[in-house]
């Protein structure tokens, strides 16, 4: 079956611009996570959705970052007024509910470069 997909795979933008990154989770997975991974680092938690609601957004670095999941499936991570320090790979993961909730399946990521 289809795995987690993310679009675009690469995004180059200029400082100050707005970007949207999209994640399509595995069908039926209720939990969805966004992470940011910089070179040489492990993924850094940003936000976690359970269904449509953000169950934990404590990892969002500041109010320039926002994420939505309006119908409990596709999610969009939005970054306003991008800065060079936002450059990283943004990973999305989904997991089923219940006992397998911790088994995250990752998408291929979006590499964001802010010039």
């Amino acid at each position: 079956g289809a795995g987690v997909s993310q679009t675009p795979s690469n995004k180059v933008t200029e400082k100050g611009k707005y970007v949207e990154l999209r994640c399509d989770p595995i069908s039926g997975h209720t939990a969805l996570y966004w992470y940011r991974q910089s070179l040489g680092q492990g993924p850094e938690f940003l936000i976690y959705f359970q269904g449509t609601g953000a169950a934990d957004d404590s990892g969002l670095p500041n109010d320039r970052f926002f994420a939505v999941r309006p119908e409990g499936s596709v999610s969009t991570l939005k970054i306003q007024r991008t800065e060079r320090g936002d450059s990283a790979v943004y990973l999305c993961a989904s997991s089923p509910s219940g006992g397998r909730i911790n088994e995250q399946f990752f998408g291929p990521g979006t590499r964001l470069t802010v010039l």
Partner: protein, 110 residues
């Protein structure tokens, strides 16, 4: 502050060698510990450990958790070049916030 620490940061071995990767954690409300392999972009799931002392095994890979000493090890026997990757350790708390280590970069030389 919750954290996950992996060691070594990088490792270079020859094919056929056995390696042990370490992961220690300090996470409140511990729920489980997971190991992932990251070759390009997407980490792929290897193991989830919830109980101490029970070894999980998959082919040449095995892992065990010690909840008293707060660490886990991942063993790879008879390494192959295809094992070259970054191995990530992650610990979620009961709130499902995942804490990842920086990873161990393994390079297997033919």
């Amino acid at each position: 502050e919750d954290k996950v620490v992996q060691s070594p940061l990088s490792l270079v071995v020859h094919e056929g060698d056995t390696v042990t990767l370490n992961c220690s954690y300090e996470v409140t409300n511990f729920r489980s510990l997971l190991w992932y392999k990251q070759e390009k972009k997407a980490p792929t799931f290897l193991f989830m450990l919830t109980s101490s002392g029970i070894e999980k095994k998959s082919g040449r890979l095995s892992s065990i958790l010690d909840k008293k000493e707060l660490f886990s090890i991942l063993n790879i026997t008879a390494t192959q070049t295809g094992d070259s990757a970054i191995y990530l350790c992650a610990v979620p708390n009961t709130g499902n916030q995942f804490y990842f280590g920086t990873g161990t970069s393994l390079t297997v030389i033919p």
